[in-house]
Structure formats: C-alpha cells, structure tokens
C-alpha cells in the first residue's frame, strides 16, 4: 500500500510539472492582461473607482461613435461582398476535378498569406497615385477610373474585400459537400429546376454555414489593423486604429478609453465566433457531420480541423497580420 501511495504522489508531481509552465504563461500573458484591460475599461482617466464613463464616452462621443460606425460599415460591406463572391467561387470549385480543385484551393489559400503590410503595399503599386494601373488607365483614357482613390473608403473596402475572399472560399467550400448529388437528382425527378432546387433545398441547407462564415468575416474585418494602418496611417477613423492610437499614440493617450473600445471590439469578435460555431453545429446536424466535407479538404487544412467542434479558419489566413 505504501508503494501504491508513492506511485500516486510521483504521478501527481509529474502532472504538475507538465502543466505548471503552461498555467504560468497563460496567467501572465492572457489572464492578467485581459483582467487588467477589463479593470481599465471601468476606470476613469484620472484613476480611481469604478465608472461606466469610458463606455458612455465610447458610445456617445461623435468621434468614437463614428469610428465604430465606420468599422461596422466597412466590415459589413466587405464581408457581404466576400461571402457572395466566395460562395459562387466555392461552388464553381466543387465542379472541377479533384486535382484541379486542390490546385485552385492551394492558390487561393496561398494568397491569403498575402495580407497586412505587403498586401497594402501591393495595392499601392497597383492602384496608388502612381500605381501601374492608375497610370495605364490614364494613358488609355479610361475616365471611369479617374475618380478612383485608393486612399479613400472605396479603396480601403476594395483591399478588405481582397483578403475576405480566400477566407470565405475556405470556409464555405466544405459545406457544399454536405449537399449530396442525390438530393439534386431527387429534386429534378420530382420536377424541380436547378434554380428551384437551390432556392428550396440547397440554400436552406448551407444558409447556416453562410451566416456563420459571415460572422467570421465580419470579426476578421473589425479586427483588421495592419492593412488600414499601412494604407493611410492613423488618420483613418476606424475602431482598431482608434484603439491603437489611444493606447500607444504619440500625442495624447487615454488607455482607459482605449480599453473600453477594445472590450467592445473583443465582444463583437467573440460573438461572431460563437455564432459561427453554433451555425457549424447546425450544418453538421443537417448534413450528417460533414465528414464528406472534411475528406475533400487539402491535407494541411485537415490537420487543423478539429475532429469535432469548430475548425479554426485563421489557421490559414495569418489573420493576425491583416
């Protein structure tokens, strides 16, 4: 019995040794910062006790409200554009042979690495004031594009759409495999046209996937920082950029207000991710676990799609740099 006891103690010691460093790092770089940010968001600029003042400022001050609105607007627009293009493209990809599918997906995923600073830079070369296309269009006299300005909202949205599309394709693509060919055949035999099939069966089946993906794209755009920062510096009134300059700005810093805005931003993202995981579960219920979907994903992705629960799309986007 004594020996049994000793073995148990040794095992306990081993587990503690294995888990302790992880716990320490998580505490230091996740729990403490999050707590500190939460506390900060409920503190007045001068310090002191609990106050909701920062949140009130964030949601009433015209300047910050505008930043939130701008962010929501550009995120919504770019994710809607991304999801429409992504859905059509993803469906088209499913019509190709297996080898072609993999090649197209590989290219699409590859471009998703092209984000953040390099992406902003590429667009400057393409469509900036002295961009290759800008000069070419001028040369060819295409006046339609004369009014285009990359550093405007239109330009920024264009760049956002660019990094949303590969992500949208990646997320929507598997759900098309939940729609079985037999369903289509059955509906044709029952007298439905292809368009009718999509309206009555196909779309309802992938609607949860589309909605979930929309959530992820929205969160992705809301948190995007590098692209906008590189294109137009901190002059743009976007939520992420406001937060950054409130916390690390050159002139004035109001870290408490920055924290409050950051908490709001985090809340939207977490909500979006949560919606996505709910929707993913629903798709799985419709289509029988989406195993078929997992099977067609390229190998690298498959490694990272959890066997159950949600997959992690940022795996591929390098989304943190956007």
């Amino acid at each position: 019995m004594l020996k049994k006891h000793r073995i148990r103690i040794r095992r306990l010691l081993g587990f503690t040794l294995a888990l302790l460093p992880f716990a320490l790092l998580i505490a230091g770089f996740q729990l403490i910062p999050v707590t500190s940010m939460l506390i900060g968001s409920f503190t007045a600029d001068s310090g002191g006790g609990f106050t909701l003042q920062q949140y009130i400022t964030a949601l009433t001050n015209a300047f910050y409200l505008k930043a939130i609105q701008n962010s929501i607007f550009i995120s919504l627009f770019s994710s809607l554009a991304g999801i429409v293009i992504g859905a059509f493209a993803a469906y088209s990809i499913t019509r190709f042979s297996a080898a072609m599918r993999n090649r197209i997906l590989m290219l699409s995923n590859m471009t998703s690495n092209f984000a953040g600073i390099p992406l902003a830079f590429a667009y400057i070369i393409l469509l900036g004031n002295n961009g290759v296309f800008t000069l070419l269009f001028k040369e060819w006299g295409w006046d339609v594009f004369a009014g285009f300005n990359l550093y405007s909202w239109t330009g920024l949205t264009l760049v956002y759409v660019y990094f949303q599309i590969p992500l949208a394709i990646l997320l929507i693509y598997p759900s098309f495999y939940g729609i079985q060919e037999q369903w289509k055949e059955a509906s044709y035999l029952l007298g439905a046209s292809p368009a009718k099939f999509w309206r009555t069966v196909g779309l309802p089946c992938i609607a949860p996937a589309l909605l979930g993906t929309l959530g992820i794209l929205f969160a992705n755009a809301m948190g995007a920082y590098a692209t906008a920062y590189a294109l137009v510096g901190s002059n743009y009134n976007l939520l992420a950029i406001r937060i950054s300059s409130l916390v690390t700005g050159d002139v004035v810093t109001r870290p408490q207000l920055g924290s409050a805005l950051a908490v709001l931003l985090a809340a939207t993202s977490i909500a979006a991710v949560w919606i996505n995981s709910m929707m993913t579960r629903r798709v799985a219920a419709y289509t029988g676990n989406g195993n078929a979907a997992a099977a067609v994903k390229p190998s690298r992705r498959r490694l990272f799609s959890a066997s159950k629960g949600q997959s992690s799309p940022r795996t591929i986007t390098g989304g943190d740099s956007i």
Binding site: M1, K3, K4, I7
Partner: protein, 438 residues
Amino acid sequence: MSYLQLNGLNKQFNGTNVLNNVHLEVAKGEMITLLGPSGCGKSTLLRCISGLTELEQGSIILEDQEITALAPREREVGMVFQSYALFPNLTVSDNIGYGLKMKRMNKGDRTRKINELLELVDLSDKAQAYPHTLSGGQQQRVALARSLAMQPKLMLLDEPLSALDAKIRKSLRLQIRQLQRRMGMTMIFVTHDQEEALMISDRICVMHNGRIVQEGSPEEIYSAPRTEFVARFIGNYNVLGPQEAGRLEGLAAQPGISYALRPESITLLPVGEYAMTRPPSFSMPGYPSSSMSEYPSSGMPERESSEMLGHDSFGIGHDLAGMPERDSSSELGHDSAGMLRRESGSRPGRESVVRGYDLLGMSRHLPPAGDSAALYWPGKVSSVMMLGNIVRYGIDVGGIPMTVDTLAGHGPFRPGEQSAVTLRIDRSQCIPLEKDGA
C-alpha cells in the same frame, strides 16, 4: 491454491460501481471468457488485472505473488487490445521485439525470438512491413505475437476480435484457442459475443452490472442459464416473465417465476394431435441429456466440429447464436387476451392444468392421459422464416410471442402462416430462472 486469484475487487467511476465485489479463481492453463454486454465491467476487470486501471479494493494474486500494487510492467501480464495498439512507427519485427528490447535482451537472442514468433503467427514474410500495410487480422496476430514474446504468466485479451470482419474473426478465434492449448497459456478473454465465448472457453463468466452473475462451462451456461439476464443474453431463449408464465398452463403452477424456453426444445403439432411418446432426446457425451433438445442443430458440438474441419458451412448455428438479442426473447408486457389466464387462487398441480383447459373450453388441446412430462399449449403461427437448415416460427401463444425452431425438412408437419398449432414442450425444458441481481 489456484494460479490466479481475484479477491473482492471493487472499482468505482464517478460514483457508480463498475466492479462490484468480484471474486474469481483461475487455474493454470485455463481459458476463461468474461462475457457480457458493453458497460458490464468486463473490460474494466481486465484492465484492473493488468494494472492499467487502479483498484479501489481487493487483491490480485498471481502465482502466489500479490501483484495488486505493482505497476503494469512489473506484473508479467500480457495484453492484447481491441484496437491492436501496434506502434505505427515500427515494423512488424520491431513491434514484436519491443518488449524484449525494453528487457534489454541482446540483439541475437532477440532476432531469434522474433523469428520464432513470426513463424508461430505465420507472418514471416511480413517481418519488415509496417502495421498499416497489414490487414486487421494480420495486425492482431502481430499484437498477439508481441505479447507472447514476453512469455507472460497471464494473457489478457480485450475484445481482440471485435474490430475484424466475421470470417477472419472465426478463423482467428480458433487459432487463438489452439495456440492457448498448445502453449498451456492461461488466458482471460473478454468478449460480448456469446458464440465466441461458447466456442473457445474452458469456462465462461457472464458479467452484468459489475458482477459475475454466472460462471461455468460453456455447456452449463448454454443449457442452464441461472438468471433472466443470462437467459436473455445467451442464445435465442424464449424468456417468459412471471406475468407471462402465469398465463401458461403448467408454468403457472409456481407463480412469480420467470422461465427460459429454448426455441428448439418446443415441438409443433397439428391441433388435436399429440405425440404420445416423448421425442427421442439427443444425447451427447458431456451434455446432460435431459437438457438437450430433440435436435441438435443449434447446439454446440456440431457447429464446432464443422468449424474445426474448416468448412464454411452455411452457418445457421452461427446466425442463431450471433444474434443474441433477437425478438425471440423479447418480453411482451401486454396483458391482453387473457385466454389462458388462470382464475386466481387455483391450486397448483396437474389437476388444475386439466381444469384450466376445460374452463377455457379448449378440450381439443387436452393432452393425452399419461403424458405428464410434457406441456401442451395452443398457438397460432404468425410468421415463418427460413434460415437455411432451420425454419423459425413466430408463434402467438395466447398473446405471448414465442420462437420455435424446427429442422428444415424434418418431420411431416409444416404449418403455414395463420394456422393453428399445438406446442409441446417437456417440463424439464422449462428452465426456471432466478431474479437478476440475486
């Protein structure tokens, strides 16, 4: 003193008793099967013996040595897993040699030993192959050889065949049994497949809710189930709950008792006709002749011999035995159609049987005088199913569904669906059951 002794083993998971005071003694060279449905604790028992799971109470003694507190690797016990658990990064040879390497056996001896084992399991040509290139059966043979290499005092097999397809399963279980006999190895084999258990064991322990509910030779287990659970789990018994038995003549004599009736021990007769003499009982060495039915087709011996000869005969016996939880043993709760219900308070005994028939106005079914050894019930055929050399009748006996098996092409009486019949069964074939959990 026996070779392996399990004394009062207890194990809990989340407050439920997975093992409930388990006692077992195993002789050297014995093949023991732990049989039971999933969740009955059989695998946990095995893991406790191996040391992979810790016990709460009890002691394990192997060859006069208490091993309860030893680490798995100190117990000299081998284990074969359902998932094979072959190491995917090692070749077949390296898998087999893994334990020997851990023992620091020198390379020459190791190679020799590995080659011996490869030959034993007939996989010499696969020595350098990786596990994933082998079939399931081959993988399990490697796992077997890997455990044998350690020359364990005791070999534990945790559902080793259930991941394999039917054909491989059948041949591999015979190979395991032969190997066990040849080497005089003591084995504990876990399975939920009663046919498998009946075929390969010296002794079967039927487990239910963490207890061993019945223990005995395959013959004993098959022909004399002790409790309702065992009867339902083994074979295609017609299990009659106390309610149902109470509605049947002859069985109602002792109220409150469940009975098990083997489907092949019931004879079908045309209405109004009675077998005057007892059907010749099939006797077999080692089998209590009274417990054997009039024909042996789903009994053990014939099946086993055909297996041994390697025939893959159209295995009715297998099918019968392979479906332990068929409708045949389903207990119907409905208390309708009390056409055979006895009046309450009637005296038990032969007289009351006759009276019961009279009361119900079914004198047509009246048994011939003098045949007190048998019971006769009226019934109606509700389904006929051809199962190869067996015809299986579903019969409605006054609202109680029963299964009756007859040899195909045997005897002149072949009732069709909806025809009325008389069922005949020897009293000795109505096996009274104890309550579960007793």
